[in-house]
Amino acid sequence: MPGAITFTSKTNAFNDQSPIIPTASRVQTGKVLLRLDLDITVARDNQPVPQVTIAFSATGASSTVTQLAPTDAQGKAVLRLETREFGTNVTITSTNPDFAQSRFDRTFTEAWYESTFLVTAYNCCAEDDFSGPLVEGGAVGRHKQDFLFGGRGVIMQGTGRASDGRFIRITNPRAIRWNPNFAGVANPEAAVFAFANGVQGAFGAVRENHSVAVDPTVVPARNHISVTGLGDRWADDTGGAIRDYHVDNFVGAGQAALRQWHNISAATVKYLGP
């Protein structure tokens, strides 16, 4: 008589039955690694089957499924599924013909990052926050000197919002030289500024309270996450200094936007897919 296996998702550390994204894993081909542990119970003739290890397979080229130890006296064991299949159905079946009728189906639509994230915030500079004299900025007209050329201005950040609401970017940052000890720009005449439609992130336009900069080996580019305490965010930006489990939240232009930041410094993050 064929045996039967029952599958039950284990409750994770976040108190639900979603998969987790292991801390040591990294994005591959744009996909995160999902890990789901399942309790299985193996029975035959309604009796538990102890001390067996059963072979399983799972759909999806990236999927692996492993029974972590033989069944115990009650026929129970833990099965670990690892897959990069997100948003498509994954089916686990036993390759042992005695148990081939038993299966587990699941479509993953969310997963918790196992690691907590460092959460910081950034803005882009706003001319209204500056107080320097007006200077000629070429194609973008006259603007405050420290807004264009200061250490916290367009020339260091790449983009800033002018007092008239338009965005200005530096088009040739490689041509800029700084004085020793970072004391101002040595060759302001070399800077070429242009108007921009907004703040451009590495993967798309950056919008306040929508976009975050992340490490794309942790969160795939442009993908959707939910940050506890912040809400839904999209991975529109990155930077060489944003590494590992770090969400840098874009809050908009100017000091006022950053002043409203409420000191979240660590948070759990849920992955919600492309």
């Binding site: 803005n123 260091m156 030289r177 930077g239 060489g240």
Partner: protein, 133 residues
């Protein structure tokens, strides 16, 4: 104060407007700047109750892809002298000497060519946290 912290000049002035471009945990700032000026960092750790986040300059990704998102000084931190009552809020500005270094670890004036940045804590400016901040 001078008995304990002779290296600090405390300026009890109305706070000026600061333009702050990104946050960073104070613990991270103190850890990275500690070796560059242990005495001043000790004063900060032992003499003040600091809020957990500092604000700092952010290097734009468009300016330097490798260093994009990095925080550099000056760092602005809010807090109060340890043991003083609520309401005596201060704004501390941690000024740093900044050197951008190229791949050969030579100082470069071109931020876009830098592969790393070195900072040394030089001094701390302390002001009363004001309404105009």
């Amino acid at each position: 104060m001078r008995t304990f912290f002779p290296s600090i000049a405390i300026l009890l002035l109305a706070s000026s407007v600061a333009r702050c471009d990104g946050t960073i945990p104070v613990s991270e700032v103190l850890e990275s700047l500690g070796p560059t000026n242990p005495e001043l960092v000790r004063v900060l750790k032992e003499g003040f109750d600091l809020e957990p986040d500092a604000t700092a300059t952010v290097i734009g990704r468009a300016v330097n892809e490798q260093l994009g998102g990095a925080r550099i000084g000056p760092y602005t931190v809010h807090g109060r002298l340890r043991g003083t009552p609520a309401g005596a809020e201060l704004t501390l500005t941690l000024d740093t000497e900044i050197k951008f270094l190229d791949r050969q670890q030579h100082p470069t004036q071109n931020v876009s060519n830098a592969s790393s940045v070195k900072e040394k804590l030089t001094h701390i400016d302390i002001r009363v946290r004001g309404s105009g901040e």
